[in-house]
């Protein structure tokens, strides 16, 4: 099954993360690439302070100067994997270094 792995960071905790985090991420990417799970790395997003949220009601476009939901943990990036089942997706989520600074939301894609 294909899963989108949505990385939600506690931005305050991430700001205090040691530089070794990026070394951990490089190792994680390497491992995921070599594991034969059709790993598709995603991209890192700017913090939620840079977010804008747009909603159209009738003919009015409203722009909010912030993220969709003002919560402690914010969407910070994503990656995609294709594995046999949820247990394997959970194992990859647990390996992702960001799991220690927030949470990884696992969302299955609709089957093609």
């Amino acid at each position: 099954m294909r899963y989108m792995m949505l990385i939600h960071h506690d931005e305050a905790a991430l700001a205090k993360a040691p530089p070794s985090l990026w070394g951990d991420y490089a190792a994680f990417n390497e491992a995921a690439n070599k594991a034969g799970i059709s790993y598709q790395p995603g991209d890192r997003l700017q913090p939620s302070a840079a977010a804008s949220t747009v909603r159209v009601a009738g003919d009015k476009t409203a722009v909010l100067d912030g993220p969709y939901a003002d919560t402690k943990e914010q969407l910070a990036g994503y990656f995609m994997i294709d594995v046999a089942d949820l247990d394997q997706a959970i194992a990859w989520a647990a390996r992702c270094p960001s799991a220690r600074y927030g949470a990884i939301e696992i969302r299955p894609f609709f089957a093609a």
């Binding site: 099954m1 046999a84 089942d85 949820l86 247990d87 997706a89 959970i90 299955p108």
Partner: protein, 433 residues
């Protein structure tokens, strides 16, 4: 231990001699439903993860059996008959749902399974344990796990499960549908976890089965004994499939110790009988022997977990009541272990009650002191009943009356209420007790 009921033990019924063939066939269909439902659902759903689809196809097959068996007779291999009907229904559903994304692929997989099964109907692999582990997966809402196991493995209806879990039927039904959709859509696997995952996952399965047993033991409706019976049966399946897991044996032993006393815990007219006053000749000796054997196998196999310790406590109660052995100190020590493991206020309460038996009511009350401010116990009837009993024994009658009155107000079982009323009366007239 082999499950007491399995599809393999089925024997063809003798043909009905008179006109009650319809009810005979109905009973045969009901029995095969009970005996092989979970096995067939597990078999059909294991690759597709489509529990609801498997149940639908089987429900149609059972309905067909109820229509056809009274006329054509009960087939020799009922499970194979049902599977071949379910297979045709599955193919029909595949056509109907071909437009639904992913649905057709799942049903094609199911049809494959059925084709394999039709070739060798004797060899339907038993995937019930894999189904149980899917239902008890950490990604399933904890409160839905036990009901889901009861429905998918035992074929209990949502209404029956709702009654057992004191939930509104509509809400329970929705909860079960949501959980089944989740198994399919989230990709929850049907598999027996690896050894290193087993402690966490097995815990959820044991918890679900034991929760079902506890409902069956404590609930008052007439379905309760069946629920307890089904939980014991699931425990037997689990022990049969995972013979090296001491906690599975410990839990089955614990259920059997309790079940052995079922006939003694009420008088003929329904009055509550506490353990110490039970007529031990009413205890089921076969169940007790089975429990003792399981417990000794479990403790030989490895370190003691929660269920083994609880079963050991029951074993000590049995040794005291049957053989007159002084086992209260051992019971206190076992509760100490259990308390270290669970940090449960209910365990602390039971430990205090046991302590009162070795060191007197004042020691028991002192052990209760740290619990007095615990909010979780404020509305817990057994806490107030135990506290009241200890206060009465310590001669603190006014406080005892207060605690027993609270217990009476919190009790929902009429037999327990009657018992508590009698304790309150005895408190008012000490000479009459």
């Amino acid at each position: 231990m082999a499950p007491s009921r399995s599809a393999r033990s089925l024997r063809p019924e003798a043909p009905a001699a008179t006109g009650d063939g319809a009810s005979e066939a109905g009973r045969a269909a009901e029995r095969v439903a009970r005996e092989s439902f979970g096995r067939l659902v597990a078999f059909l759903a294991v690759r597709t993860r489509d529990v609801a689809g498997a149940e639908d196809a089987l429900a149609e097959a059972f309905a067909a059996a109820l229509r056809q068996w009274p006329r054509s007779g009960v087939p020799e291999n009922r499970a194979a008959w049902l599977l071949s009907v379910a297979r045709r229904r599955g193919a029909d559903m595949a056509r109907r749902r071909a437009v639904e994304a992913g649905g057709a692929g799942r049903l094609a997989l199911m049809a494959d399974e059925l084709k394999t099964a039709a070739l060798s109907p004797e060899a339907i692999p038993d995937r019930r344990l894999a189904l149980m582990f899917a239902c008890a997966h950490p990604a399933i809402e904890p409160g839905a796990r036990a009901p889901l196991i009861l429905q998918t493995v035992l074929g209990l209806t949502a209404a029956g499960i709702a009654a057992a879990f004191l939930a509104p039927p509509g809400a329970m039904s929705q909860r079960l549908v949501r959980a089944k959709n989740r198994i399919r859509d989230a990709g929850i696997p049907f598999r027996i976890p690896e050894r290193e995952e087993l402690p966490e996952r097995l815990g959820a399965v044991l918890e679900a089965i034991y929760a079902a047993y506890a409902r069956g033991w404590g609930a008052l409706d007439e379905d309760a004994p069946r629920l307890a019976e089904e939980a014991i049966w699931l425990g037997q399946v689990l022990v049969g499939l995972l013979p090296d897991e001491p906690e599975a044996k410990g839990m089955l032993a614990l259920m059997l110790y309790a079940e052995a006393r079922r006939g003694a815990r009420r008088t003929g007219d329904g009055a509550f009988v506490p353990l110490e006053a039970q007529d031990v000749t009413l205890w089921d000796r076969d169940a007790l022997a089975a429990a003792e054997r399981l417990l000794s196998e479990a403790s030989a196999a490895g370190p003691s977990g929660r269920y083994q310790i609880e079963a050991a406590i029951q074993s000590a109660h049995v040794a005291r009541r049957l053989g007159g052995a002084a086992t209260w100190p051992a019971i206190v020590a076992l509760y100490d272990h259990l308390q270290a493991l669970t940090r449960s206020p209910v365990v602390a309460l039971n430990r205090a009650v046991a302590l009162a038996e070795t060191e007197g009511p004042r020691a028991g009350l002192a052990a209760l002191e740290p619990l007095d401010a615990d909010e979780r116990l404020a509305a817990y009837q057994p806490y107030w009943a135990a506290r009241g009993a200890l206060l009465a024994r310590a001669g603190r009658r006014a406080e005892a009356r207060e605690a027993l009155t609270l217990a009476l107000g919190l009790a929902d079982d009429p037999a327990v209420r009657a018992y508590l009323r009698a304790r309150l009366e005895a408190l008012a007239n000490p000479s009459a007790d």
